[in-house]
Symmetry: C2
Subunit: 160 residues, 2 copies
Amino acid sequence: MSEGVEWGLHACIALDWIGDRPVSTAKLASTFELPAPYLNKHLQALARAGIVTSTPGPRGGFRLARDLSEVTLLDVVTAIEGREDAFRCQEIRQRGAGASSDPDAFRKRCAIARAMRSAEIAYRRALAAKTLADIRDAAERDAPRAAARTREWHQSDKES
Amino acid sequence: MSEGVEWGLHACIALDWIGDRPVSTAKLASTFELPAPYLNKHLQALARAGIVTSTPGPRGGFRLARDLSEVTLLDVVTAIEGREDAFRCQEIRQRGAGASSDPDAFRKRCAIARAMRSAEIAYRRALAAKTLADIRDAAERDAPRAAARTREWHQSDKES
């Protein structure tokens, strides 16, 4: 999994703490000392998924497109990593020794692919069961000053 | 996830069908038309994990080290992909705006990392709940001739 997932999740929670106004990629990148061009790529992916909206122009930037209670971990992982399963069946059962089999033998999806798919579903269900609001609330319990500190950082002149 | 997981799983089931004798990498690779050097790398990983044993020499090769009912999907995935979680927390919460926080704020693991860890555990539990014997049995139900076909392939002179 790319580091973009961690960046995207933190960016969404920071945008929630900052409030409903566009935040530039440079400013958001400075919040976590990230390279702005790479962060921008991931923010664009979140925008394509309808999680954030992008406003162009000198006072533009990114803001949340919906409440964090309506965004799950799965939404962000899928936006950044794509929809493909981790396991990709290449149907090697049909090659070599299997090549001359009755086509009926391959009517059902390969038993290995089915089992890997079940585990992928368990993973996605766990990701879908958690919203970014749940995570933000937990972060606020762990660090009661984090939200205020993020807002102060964004009102300061650090980067722009 | 690398294609090695699919290769390794099919190789274990083929070894079970072939029976308790060493099978050369070349022969096993020919079973699925795979490149032998890459397959060998994955078989070595399975050997290090105690799933197969490797016998050196001209009549050597790989055989199963234990019954397929004692090997789970998780064992093979871990042997080939390693033990690391898909999500790797880089603690970006401690940088930039977070750098001057009270250290207490970071006493607990980051809420994002905790949520991603829960999903990883759900994934691993699903993988650990399925043995290669379950998968072999399902494959035999789907394709009753597959086991015999694999044995015939290995008694023939295709590759060596």
